[in-house]
Symmetry: C2
Subunit: 405 residues, 2 copies
Amino acid sequence: MSSRPLTGLRIVECASFVAGPSGCLALGQLGADVIKVVPLGGPADQYRWPLAPEGESLYWAALNRGKRSLAVDLRSHAGKELVTELITTDGPDAGLLVDNVAGSRWLSYEELSARRPDLVHLHVQGHPDGRPAVDYTVNADVGIPTITGGADARGPVNHVLPAWDLLTGMTAATGLLAALREREKTGRGSYLELALADVATSGVANLGWLAEAEQRGGPRPRHGNHLYGSFGVDFTTRDDAHVMVVALTPGHWRGLCTATGTSEVFAALEQALDADLARESDRYRLRETITAILRPWFAERDLAEVADRLETGGVLWSRYREMDEVVAAHDRSETPSVLTRVNEPGIGRTVAARPALRSGGSYGEASAAPRHGEHTHQVLAEVLGLADHQIGKLHQDGVIDADPR
Amino acid sequence: MSSRPLTGLRIVECASFVAGPSGCLALGQLGADVIKVVPLGGPADQYRWPLAPEGESLYWAALNRGKRSLAVDLRSHAGKELVTELITTDGPDAGLLVDNVAGSRWLSYEELSARRPDLVHLHVQGHPDGRPAVDYTVNADVGIPTITGGADARGPVNHVLPAWDLLTGMTAATGLLAALREREKTGRGSYLELALADVATSGVANLGWLAEAEQRGGPRPRHGNHLYGSFGVDFTTRDDAHVMVVALTPGHWRGLCTATGTSEVFAALEQALDADLARESDRYRLRETITAILRPWFAERDLAEVADRLETGGVLWSRYREMDEVVAAHDRSETPSVLTRVNEPGIGRTVAARPALRSGGSYGEASAAPRHGEHTHQVLAEVLGLADHQIGKLHQDGVIDADPR
C-alpha cells in the first residue's frame, strides 16, 4: 500500500466533537481529501479543551489535521445549496458524506440522495433513536464505571479516555470504505447510521462481558488494577516508579518468576494450595497472594534494576509514564516514531501524531489543521467550478467566509 | 449498502487476543468470509475469562462470531504449507491476511508475497519494533492511568476496557479495506504494520493531550468523574441511583439550569464571581461550586422524578447501569436493538451483539462462534479443492483437526 492509498477520494465532513472528525482524520491520513464544512461562527467544538496559551484548541487542531476548511452560513438557503452541491457533485470518487447533525432536513439522506442516488452517507448519532448521547453518558449506560477502580471506590469511576468516541470514528471509517467498495461494484449508494451507544453496547458484548453479567446476575467484582481473569497488576519500585506487570501466558508467568527469582517460592505455594500457576484461572484466583509475594522484590529495587531484570527475563511490563514524558521520550529518540512535530497556525510548533498504520515499514506524515475558512475559495473554485467574481459575491452576501482568520 | 457489502471477500485470520480478532469480526459482520486458523491444541486465548459455567470462554465466543475455524498443526511443514496455500490462493477477493504472530518466518510477508505478489498482509504487533505489549501495558505507557480517578487516588488507576485493543482492531479493518481498494485499482499488494502502542500514542495525541502535557510540563490534574474542560459529573439520587450529567454546550447548560430550577441561583453566582457559565471554561473553573449547588436537587429526589425532569428539560444525562441491567433492558424492549441472542455451542442461548453499523435503518444479524476445527474439512475442500481422501490423509497424519469437539 502506498502511504496514501485513498488519494483522489473526496469526503465531505459535517461533524463536530470526537467521533466523526476522528474517523475522517483517519481517512484523510490514508489520502482522502476531507472537506470539513464549518458554520460561519465556527464549529461548536472549536474552543474545546485542552487550549494553547493563546486560546486556540489543541484538541480541535489535533482532530482536524490535513482537512480543508469550508466556512459557510448554514442557516441561509444559499449556504445550504452550496454544501448540497458539494456533497452531491458528480464523480466516482465523490458523493461521500459523514455527518453528526441531528434532525436537519436539508442534510438528510432523503434530500441528498434525490440529487445523487449513489451517495454514500454515514450518519453518526448518540442513541439509535436519535436521542443525544456522548462518550461519558454511554459509558455510564453500559456499566464500565461500576467495575472500574478499587473495591473501596465509592460510586462509579469514569474513564477519562473517550474510548467509545474514538472507536465510533474508526467504525465509521470502516463502514464508509465497505459501502464505497459496494458502490464501486454495484453502483448502489447507501445510508449508514452508527450510534455511539450501539458501539459501546456491542463493544462490551464483544468481550463476553454482557453474557457474563447475565450469568452472574450482577456486575463482576471491582479489583483496582488487577487484570481480570489472569495475572496483571501494578507495583511500586524503591525509587517510587510505578510499573504494570502482566502474565497472560504460561511463558509470561515463567519469565516473571525467573526474573524475580521466585520460582521456588511459587512452586511451594502451588503444592501448599493445590494450584497450578501456569493456569490463568489459578493466577487470577491467587492474585492477591502472588502480588504480596512479588511486592517486596519491586520495593527493594530502583526502576533501573527492575527494568533491566524484567527486560532480560522477557517479562511483559511497562512503566507508568506521564504524558509529558511520552513527548520527551520521542524528542530524545533517534528512530522515527508515530509522533512528529508540525507548525500549527496560532499555536506554534507542536507535537502531533502521524498515522499509526505503517506501510512498507514507514509512517505517513502529519499535517497542520486548517484555519477557519482557509480553503473556502479553493474548494468552491476547484470542486464547484465557481469563478472568482461568483465567490466574491457569495462573500459579500455573507454566505461564506473566505478570509482565513 | 446491503447489510453484508463485503460478501465474497475471503480473509485469513492468524490472530489471538482482542485486537486482530475484533477487527476481523467487524469485517466478517460486513459480509467477509473470515477463516480463523487455530493450532491443533487450540488458540492461546481459548479459555480466556469470562467463562461460562461449563468452562467455555464467553470472551472467545463473542470475538469470533461467524468466523470459520480451520484447525492445523502449525509446527508441521505440511500444516504450514496448507495455511500458506490458503493465504496465497488465487482470486481477486482472496489474498488477504491479518496476523499477530511474532517472528514467524513462514508467515512473513516476504515468504508469502513470493507466492502471491499482490497479497495484502496486515500485521498487528505490540510495539513498532516488535517487542510485545498488551492493552494494559500500553495504557500505562501513554499516561492515561495517572489522570484517571480522584485527586485522592493513590497511584495509577487502570481502565478496565481494553480500549486500545478494540481501536487497533477497527484501525486494522480500515487499513485492510484501504489497501484492498488500492489493489483493486493498481494491482499492487501491500504489507501493513499496526502497533498497539502506536494506536495508543496517536490516540492521546489526536485529542491534543500530548501537546497539552508538554505545555504544562506535566500531567493535567486528576479530578474524578468531572469532565475535563467543561461541565459533567455524577450525582446520587435519593434512592441511591447514580446519574452522569453533562453540559457541553450553552444549550445543554440552559437545559440543566431549567430542569433543576437553578437558573436564578446561577445568574446570581455569575454576577458575584464575574463568570459566564454559558462558557465551557467558566463551567469547568467553577465545576465544584456548580456541583455543590446541584447536588441537593438530586439528593432530594428519586430517580423516577429526576429522570422525568431531566428528559423534559432536554438534559444530556444517563443513569449508571450494571451490565446485567443492560441485558435485562434489551429483553424488555420491543424495538430491535444492537443486542440479540444466539445459541452458542457448549454455552447455550446467550446474549450477543449485532453489528453497530446500521444500513437502511436495520441491524445485521449475529452468528455463533465456530467450534474448534468445525470448518477444516469444508475450507480445505472448497478453497483448496482437496478431495475427501486427501483431507482424510491429512487427518490421519495429524496435520489437521477436522472433527469438531
